[in-house]
């Protein structure tokens, strides 16, 4: 090692590398955040039969396209990890680039979707269903934005062959964002 690193980044009592332990800790807290939100949504949905009418106005095909986009971006993210494992930083950076494109595509589709809904009068204050809809999908979208930005930094480093282990870390986070959407999709779009 050419320069000293803080001890906390290299030692590991659990046998798990600290960065990976850290991202799993973040995800453990995210489980409670998204789980609480989606749990509350499911309970209200069951208690309020009138939500079915509101839910029938979500645009299934847009949600479906976005599911495909996120699944694919998860695939490129895991391929980036594979490339990084082999020490191929340039390839990893390229694949992270594809993942970022996936994130941007997702956000553009989401913007279009929300625009049409808001114009049609389905705003966050329209009723409780739409409040949940915008809160859950909005919180998820914030995670997509954050992930894309962090991925950008990591891709630049990876391209220069630096800090390749971070490709896996951002990948784990990104797959989690994908998993959240895997549940959001049927909850908000399919259950009508």
């Amino acid at each position: 090692m050419a320069h000293a690193r803080p001890i906390a980044t290299t030692r590991s009592a659990t046998g798990i590398p600290t960065p990976r332990l850290a991202v799993w800790w973040i995800l453990a807290s995210e489980v409670v955040i998204f789980g609480g939100l989606l749990g509350a949504y499911i309970m209200h949905r069951i208690g309020h039969p009138e939500w079915a009418e509101a839910a029938s106005h979500t645009q299934t095909w847009i949600g479906a396209v976005n599911t495909f986009v996120l699944l694919t971006s998860s695939f490129t993210a895991v391929l980036a990890h594979q490339a990084a494992e082999k020490g191929n930083g340039k390839e990893a950076a390229k694949l992270l680039g594809f993942t970022i494109i996936g994130a941007l595509t997702f956000l553009m589709i989401k913007s279009y979707e929300w625009t049409t809904e808001i114009i049609a009068g389905y705003t966050i204050t329209a009723n409780t269903f739409w409040s949940f809809y915008y809160t859950a999908a909005g919180l998820h979208a914030l995670h997509v934005i954050a992930g894309a930005i962090i991925m950008g930094f990591i891709a630049v480093d990876a391209y220069r062959g630096r800090e390749l282990h971070r490709v896996e870390i951002i990948g784990i986070y990104w797959h989690f964002v994908d998993v959240v959407w895997i549940f959001l999709f049927p909850l908000l779009y399919i259950a009508k």
């Binding site: 590398p17 799993w24 789980g35 309970m43 009138e50 391929l79 998993v179």
Partner: protein, 238 residues
């Protein structure tokens, strides 16, 4: 590079499992297609299995193969399991209150009223079914309808049929007026102007119960007249 290798190989995590990512990806896509097509059949249990059952399978595939949790140290799984457990604990703790609107010794009037209002709204709304594209505009352009407005606001206490049997009215004392009762209209003072005044300013304005709140802020004068006419249409001799 040696630094990165250290991170990867030093802990023995990445050795010994070689996932065929492409295969997993295509399985995920296949499951995704089923989860979209299945619910189209419109059969309830097929929808539940294809939408939510498959979501769980997809999530497992991603978590195990893409996030490599399957190869992660056991303590990590326990940590995540704790989070999931706490989440379910929270849900289980509040579920009886959220999913039901009444119990042995309690009743959630606001939630019941909300359900009734929403259903009345949905009923008045889905009359033009089968025109998905056109529906969003309806919301914006919807003109005023005394019947719809009655269904959304007045019916909560006065009942959809005007018999004073609305869900939120059950607990009120004095009970909400029953517009279908001839005795109610026997008082000659209860003419159209009086009904308009009560809707606009509340019953207290004419010496009645303050539980009949003023709704004037919601309506124009013309709309007030329409709602009053609608209320008076419940009159047995009307």
């Amino acid at each position: 590079m040696s630094e990165n290798n250290e991170h990867h190989d030093g802990h023995g995590h990445d050795d010994g499992h070689h996932v065929n990512y492409k295969k997993i990806y295509f399985i995920l896509l296949g499951l995704f297609v089923i989860s979209v097509v299945g619910p189209e059949l419109g059969i309830r249990w097929v929808t539940l299995i294809t939408a939510f059952g498959i979501a769980v399978v997809k999530a497992r595939l991603v978590i195990n193969n893409f996030m490599h949790l399957a190869w992660e140290k056991r303590i990590m799984k326990w940590m995540l399991a704790t989070s999931v457990l706490l989440m379910f604990l929270m849900v289980a703790g509040v579920a009886p209150d959220v999913m039901n609107h009444e119990g042995n010794n309690w009743e959630n009037l606001a939630a019941k009223a909300e359900v009734e209002r929403g259903l009345a709204y949905a009923a008045g709304y889905s009359s033009d079914e089968g025109e998905d594209e056109a529906e969003p505009e309806v919301v914006v352009a919807a003109g005023f309808s005394a019947a719809t407005s009655y269904g959304q606001i007045c019916a909560t206490c006065h009942g959809a049929g005007g018999a004073g049997d609305g869900i939120a009215g059950a607990a009120l004392d004095p009970p909400p007026a029953n517009f279908t009762d001839p005795a109610f209209w026997a008082d000659p003072a209860r003419d159209r102007d009086r009904v308009i005044t009560v809707i606009r300013d509340g019953a207290a304005a004419v010496g009645g119960s303050a539980l009949m709140a003023p709704w004037g802020a919601l309506y124009t004068e013309e709309q007030l007249e329409q709602v009053a006419d609608y209320v008076m249409s419940f009159r047995p001799d009307a």
